[in-house]
Symmetry: C2
Subunit: 504 residues, 2 copies
Amino acid sequence: MPLPPHALAWLSQRVGLGEPFAEVPVSAPASALSADAFTALEAVCSVSVDAPDRLGRAGGFSYLDLLRRRGHGTLAVPDAVVSPSSHDEVAEVLRVCVEYDVAVVPFGGGTSVVGGVEALRGSKSAVVALDLAGVNRLVSVDPVSRVAVLQAGLTGPEAEKLLREHGFTLGHVPQSFERATIGGFAATRSAGQASSGYGRFEDMVESVRVATPVGSWVVGTAPASAAGPDLKQLVLGSEGLFGVITEVSVRVRPVPVSPRYEGFVVDGWESGVALVRDLAQAGAPADVTRLSDVDETEVALALAGGKAEVVKKYLRVRRVAAPCLVILGWECRDRLATLKVLRRHKVVRLGRAMGESWLHGRFNGPRQRDALLDAGVCVETLETATRWSSVSELRDAVRQALVAELGNPVVMCHVSHAYETGASLYFTVLVPRDLADPVAQWEKAKIAASDAISRLGTITHHHAVGRDHLPWLEKEIGGVGVSVLRAVKNDLDPTGILNPGKLV
Amino acid sequence: MPLPPHALAWLSQRVGLGEPFAEVPVSAPASALSADAFTALEAVCSVSVDAPDRLGRAGGFSYLDLLRRRGHGTLAVPDAVVSPSSHDEVAEVLRVCVEYDVAVVPFGGGTSVVGGVEALRGSKSAVVALDLAGVNRLVSVDPVSRVAVLQAGLTGPEAEKLLREHGFTLGHVPQSFERATIGGFAATRSAGQASSGYGRFEDMVESVRVATPVGSWVVGTAPASAAGPDLKQLVLGSEGLFGVITEVSVRVRPVPVSPRYEGFVVDGWESGVALVRDLAQAGAPADVTRLSDVDETEVALALAGGKAEVVKKYLRVRRVAAPCLVILGWECRDRLATLKVLRRHKVVRLGRAMGESWLHGRFNGPRQRDALLDAGVCVETLETATRWSSVSELRDAVRQALVAELGNPVVMCHVSHAYETGASLYFTVLVPRDLADPVAQWEKAKIAASDAISRLGTITHHHAVGRDHLPWLEKEIGGVGVSVLRAVKNDLDPTGILNPGKLV
């Protein structure tokens, strides 16, 4: 998706444009998959060693992934793409891969921004991408219990289309929605933009079906249980390390009758945090509850083009010194309950146009990344969550770390997932690309920012660990936690074929 | 707590009274703890081998436990009671027990009804009860984030008292509330009577501190995270098998300003289920949302004594053929939202007196069990959860199983925890005690009922697995799940000192 002229003009003035990227075509190395393994896999399902297929499953969508596709850094290309179309075929693929000692990277939409689908071989001689696109049925709908069984390869839009035929929706719309899959949502503990109303993906999951190298496993039986530890929570977030998720049983809700999105402005970040905290703690958030800081609000208004001038003028009249945009969207939650809490705060109402504008632009971020790269801009995001009492300290620490490493970046921040005890923080960074070594430019910044994040919050609220967050995992879960993950990994995948180099 | 005369009269007529129990005094066998182990433990903290202390930690409060205390069956008595007063002392106790190969049963309130605190030795020569009563501080309160750190040995009332000094409450009131502890709530995935509003205990937990034989572990950092699997959920429900929970960081809420409890009646079980389901799926349950079936309602009214006659007459006037009592209690949730949904259903309002009556009698069940035993009555409870579409089938199946095994029992059932996708079912059984073999009488009934439960729901919604539900665990979590539990157990407790014979 190209950038409109006014956005380019703003970028040039505020961020500075770098040297445009030349496309360096990346080629796939010869496949290292043995003929025997290929034949055995082909007996199960379709297998391709064609370069376009393999390049199409080489990594995800982090800034570093995009750089690799443009010739900076090394792109890990799978030796083959294996495409099963059922749980049983997935299980059989794993059996063959154990037999031939081939590494397997489960591949859904390929939208990981943390290196989660990098085709690393580990100690194996070959690695295949296990593409779940063919495992894509709506298995069943229980309208009384409002539970649907969805297969892992369904993308967000595909799942919604199938559910809507029954009058239901998942309500799970992360920014990766257009490409990401049900299996990926489960494997990475995804959180959608309306998570304040619908919950995180793991909150929707009743049970999971997994193919592991030691056998198939259905985990989760009832809405809630005290039958020992919740093992389902071990599969959710397992990032393809313990098995391949093939089906997920999820809570669904009726399609909202009259969703409504509105824009508001508060004066200053702290006022905004107080507002969102009050909403969450009063049990009255909108389904979509987002707060942008001053910098993100400035960018949002700048990129909105001409119509934003009216808003800016109105905010001057209302004497809002440091405008912070608040987007509230009601799909299933009670709007009046939210408005009741809003009355306790100084809030300027911008109306539905601003809410609709957010709604229609909600996927622009990922869509415009290539255009930003073309313009010589380094663009990446970071995210975390922490307690309310640490939200502002954490935001400051990350900004400082990024400024220290990147010179004069634009750093924008928003809260997009509010809980009673805390919130997520999501950062977007824009800076002219370092011409000499764009990879090192971002890696240094990522380390500094992640150190700050790790000090005060979780290393990731909804992007998962993959390869990129691995250095900070032990601090978060402890040496004992790492040991437990390894024990589970060894139990379920004793020969270590599954997604080497990630998480554990 | 004694039974009032009208309750005894009702029991005699409806259930039938058995032969009253004679108290058979149970004595403690000699302690098998070696002098070396005793000395090493005493260097850490207080240790007792006195018979009353040991008998006081011999098992929990299941019907079979009560029978054992009265001389039927074998009471497993710990060889000593070890009483640490801090996390470090707990960790040190575990180190000593590993060194001397002594089994450890973590002991909180001792309210397990599933054999969870039975002092089994496993393969060890001695077993100690690790009593957490001295690990009982409120460590910290973060009023902005509404998070408190509570130590494991605090009982429900103790924790509430400490939190209320800061204006907060946990809102977690299971029927075991008066004796049960924070650590026990966490170790067993407890669900309180107001769980429809406050959530289950695991929903409140942000992080857990555990002493394990391989080291201390703090798990959980933020309100939500995608940093791999949620390992906290592996500790919650681990029933003392993986380590000893010493501190729990929990979400708290302001003490409710004007809690309100009301009674309602619907005509017939199916109407009641439809009502509660609608409330849960509309996002409008009261904090306490309970539905009793016809049998439980009949008993509730019978036990209410004289004042119930007025209610019964009123229900006849309102032509309610099959009255099912509904108790709704609002503490932090919006009453008007609930009432809005109620208007869609045919509901007879009984007012606040009936709600207050439930509130004041909410702990009578456990309090009156000894009196029921004294009267020769076998009394026990069973519970499960399932999807809405299976709720009535499961209820019927359990009733049939109990009738088939017990002859003519009174079987009462209620829904006390409602979810969007399903609900809990809680059964209370009353039948005259079999004089010859009261243990076998209940064991047969428990197996038949549990088989029915296991076919259609979870083997336990909030009582945990312990020893009594072990035979049904593998069906629920699969062979792969059992293997994963064992792998984690071996990793954290390689010599197997912790709570032998339970869960795994």
